[in-house]
């Protein structure tokens, strides 16, 4: 038990010193100095609550994905049946109850139609299910319903795309080291250190940036449009700008036949040379440019609506075919909002709307103050604790205290090596771990005292002390790890940071308080061969 061969001594010291040295960059950094760039620098990241910054949790509405899929399916079905050798006419299309249903004119063609529609459905990932079910009711009514598996897959894909889009938009803002992660099925967590006013960010992320160009239905009855009743084949879209105190102006546009503004290669802030109003100039890719040219050529002299996220920006009359592949979007922009729109269009549309469901912003002064005070508290706490332990255990107290100092360094070192984040509760966890780390030494030392009282010789008492106390130390630390694991599983950011410090602290404290002190005690026993313990 107290036998320490040379290789074991060297190994213990090597592990201790390497890990403790890994703490140096973090310490130098927190003290406000610069760590030389030439040296390796494992560093503890500071959480938002210490470094200051913004935390946003964005949530998507999965029903929106469902609606979009049904709308997309409607268009695919139309195209497909139109392209059949003997085109099938369909009528009474509805997509009300979360499925798409329509009638075909000729019940004898049911099988042919089903055959034609089947390629529109796909397998839903690895679930072994298809993403749509096709049913025929009453002889000639088709009902296409998305399966739950298909919806889940679509939502998941939409969220992946959304994360990418969010990342592009945040990068465009030029903020440093943002963290963007998916959280659960429908959420994205965005953390931007150092960002003090998340307003611009929120505006940018709150914009879905779904741009559409649709033809205005000039035959629609103005009174009906005003009441929100859409003529067949039309939809009613409100204007983005409303005059104060007035209900939003509305306009009827044709549902189909427009084009979407997602085939862009660029979007730039520009301005109208006559009015100096900010505008956004978009450039289509080849395919988009051709479709745009076709739309404008076929409809010269008619107005078309530029619709952003379901609101009409403007509805200019097409004066001449636009063949150059670029277009200017005007609306009631400020240069800020036009710039944001340009970024949003460049990064692509979000496949779903994102809403901010949680927001936390911390100023930089508060965090700096917390670090400073945390350091002071840790220093004073450690010092006072060391005095107490020295007074209680003498030589064995010295070992415990030296182990404690190594423990502090090793916690920081491990945190730096695995790149964890230090949060405000994490500082508390740090201080707490120091208090708890001596518990192992207390248990051991008290046990040695006891065994001496029972009349055991020094070496045997020490050996029994480490052995008998070890069991309780082990059990106690396991329960702490269990509690910390549950914090990791259920906690949010800062609490997770706390749990990580706790777990690392438990591991290092077992190492320093048991392994290191045992080595030192063993070496002392062998060197001094004491017959009496002052304990």
């Amino acid at each position: 038990m107290l036998d320490f061969p040379r290789w074991k001594v060297l190994l213990l010291w090597a592990v201790t010193l390497v890990i403790a040295a890994a703490a140096l960059p973090s310490i130098v950094d927190m003290a406000g100095y610069r760590w030389p760039a030439a040296l390796p620098e494992p560093k503890v990241n500071l959480g938002l609550d210490l470094a200051g910054g913004s935390h946003l949790m964005l949530e998507a509405d999965p029903t929106q994905v469902r609606t979009q899929r049904i709308e997309g399916m409607e268009e695919s079905v139309r195209n497909k049946l139109h392209a059949m050798a003997q085109p099938v006419r369909i009528s009474d299309i509805s997509n009300n109850n979360g499925s798409l249903s329509f009638l075909i004119d000729d019940a004898t063609k049911v099988d042919a139609v089903r055959e034609a529609l089947l390629p529109l459905t796909n397998g839903a990932g690895l679930t072994g299910k298809r993403d749509w079910t096709i049913n025929v009711v009453d002889g000639n009514r088709f009902v296409l319903s998305p399966t739950p598996e298909g919806i889940d897959q679509a939502v998941s894909q939409a969220m992946d795309t959304a994360v990418e889009v969010v990342r592009k938009r945040i990068d465009a803002l030029g903020t440093k080291e943002p963290t963007i992660i998916r959280s659960g099925a429908t959420r994205i967590v965005v953390q931007v250190p150092g960002l003090q006013d998340p307003q611009g960010l929120k505006n940018l992320l709150g914009q879905t940036a779904k741009l559409e160009f649709k033809l205005v239905d000039q035959t629609a009855d103005a009174a009906q449009v005003y009441q929100g009743i859409a003529p067949p084949g039309d939809e009613i879209v409100p204007y983005a700008e409303t005059k104060a105190g007035q209900p939003a102006a509305k306009i009827a546009v044709k549902r189909l036949g427009g084009i979407r503004g997602d085939q862009l290669t660029n979007a730039q802030l520009s301005s109208n040379q006559q009015t100096n109003q900010p505008t956004v100039t978009i450039t289509f890719n080849t395919d988009g440019g051709e479709r745009f040219a076709k739309l404008t050529s076929a409809n010269v002299g008619k107005p078309f609506a530029i619709i952003l996220d379901g609101k009409v920006l403007s509805a200019p009359v097409i004066n001449e075919p636009i063949l150059g592949g670029s277009a200017v979007i005007s609306g009631n922009f400020t240069s800020d909002s036009a710039g944001q729109l340009a970024i949003a269009l460049r990064s692509g549309a979000l496949p779903v709307d994102l809403k901010v469901v949680e927001e936390r912003t911390v100023g930089p002064d508060l965090g700096a103050d917390s670090i400073h005070k945390g350091m002071i508290a840790m220093g004073i706490g450690t010092l006072a604790l060391a005095v107490f332990i020295l007074a209680t255990y003498g030589r064995f107290g010295v070992y415990a205290c030296v182990a404690l100092v190594f423990n502090v360094f090793m916690i920081l070192g491990v945190m730096g090596i695995i790149g964890t984040t230090l949060t405000l509760p994490g500082i508390a966890g740090f201080v707490l771990t120091i208090g708890a780390a001596v518990d192992a030494n207390v248990l051991i030392n008290e046990r040695i005292r006891e065994e001496r009282h029972r009349g055991r010789r020094v070496v045997q008492a020490v050996e029994l002390g480490y052995k008998e106390a070890g069991r309780a130390i082990f059990d106690a630390n396991i329960t702490n790890v269990i509690a910390a694991m549950l914090m990791l599983a259920f906690g949010s950011g800062p609490i997770k940071g706390f749990a990580v410090v706790l777990i690392i602290g438990i591991a290092t404290s077992v190492f320093t308080a048991i392994m290191l002190t045992r080595m030192w005690v063993a070496q002392w026993l062998r060197r001094a061969r004491p017959t009496e313990l002052s304990l």
Binding site: D369, Y393, A436
Partner: protein
């Protein structure tokens, strides 16, 4: 050098003699805590009830102008704010319910935060906005549920661990003393009306871990003594075990308190509630490991037969063989 001995050698206090009165006291305290939590309620932060919290420091004032601030914010028409000092007297948190409809349109919550902070900056030149937390009702319900689950699972998991490592009686004893500790800490939050937020849940979880430390040390010794002194009556054996570990209990608890008090006095103000919860928990945990965890074993009829010696020779008492 004369070493400090807080607990003299061969201390023998008859703790268990007073177990019934202490049990009654504990039960009254637990009942009172829950009564307070249910009637007076906890001062739940935005984490758990949703809403918006704006933290402001008045840099050149000795004290935050709470009264005028309340009037100013109320005048903005978003409802009555809850103002609370935290940390230093010139730091204040302003809590608001989220405006109607903010669940669907987050821009409304934004506008409220901007209006309020702009108004504060306009009226108080030295105001520094330290942070804005905004949590929607849906998220806050989830956070609350997650916190509740984490606490429940943690208590059950550690109790199960102790059951596996010891015996079922020990597991139940540990669970009951955990319930006791957490209840009393909650009671303190009901009395002081310190803000109860996510950090406090972390504190409670830490408490579950650390208050068990004492319990485990005492239980470990009880198990050892049960094997060693097979004919000793249980109350006497429990007393012996508690006394034998008393020095360790006192020294460890003091060590924790030293660091915690330095954190309370010198540490960051923002986590005052967090530190206070753990500090109180250390006291309660030490008490409960002596007066809850150990005596419960008498009622659950632990006996030396619970640990048949010889079955696990490695755990056997070395003293008996020597």
């Amino acid at each position: 050098m004369k070493l400090l001995k807080l607990v003299p050698d061969h201390t023998n206090i008859h703790f268990l003699k007073w177990r019934v009165p202490f049990y009654l006291v504990s039960m009254v305290l637990v009942a009172a805590s829950w009564g307070l939590v249910l009637t007076k309620g906890l001062n739940l932060g935005v984490d758990f009830i949703g809403g918006q919290m704006i933290r402001v420091t008045f840099e050149r004032s000795a004290e935050a102008p709470v009264g005028p601030l309340r009037d100013e914010v109320t005048k903005l028409g978003y409802g009555e704010p809850i103002l609370q000092r935290f940390g230093k007297p010139n730091e204040v948190s302003i809590r608001m319910k989220l405006p109607e409809g903010a669940e669907h349109d987050p821009a409304l919550a934004d506008r409220m935060a901007r209006t309020i902070t702009a108004d504060i900056r306009k009226n108080h030149a030295d105001a520094r906005v330290d942070g804005v937390d905004s949590v929607s009702g849906k998220v806050s319900k989830e956070l609350g549920w997650d916190a509740f689950r984490a606490l429940g699972f943690a208590a059950l998991a550690v109790a199960a661990y102790i059951w596996v490592r010891f015996e079922w009686q020990f597991g139940i004893g540990a669970l009951l003393s955990l319930v006791h500790d957490v209840s009393l800490t909650l009671g303190m939050f009901a009395v002081t009306q310190l803000e109860f937020d996510l950090n406090i849940v972390a504190a409670l979880l830490t408490l579950i871990g650390y208050s068990l430390n004492d319990t485990i040390v005492v239980y470990d010794r009880i198990r050892e003594n049960l094997k060693k002194y097979r004919r000793m009556p249980l109350p006497e054996l429990l007393d012996l075990s508690v006394n034998e570990t008393l020095a360790r209990t006192i020294v460890t608890s003091l060590s924790m308190l030293i660091t915690l008090v330095s954190l309370l006095v010198f540490g960051p103000q923002v986590i005052f509630g967090f530190t206070a919860a753990i500090t109180l928990g250390i006291f309660i945990g030490t008490y409960s490991s002596i007066y809850m965890a150990a005596p419960i074993l008498i009622w659950l009829k632990v006996s030396p037969k619970s640990f048949v010696p010889g079955e696990k020779p490695s755990d056997g008492p070395a003293g008996a063989k020597a």
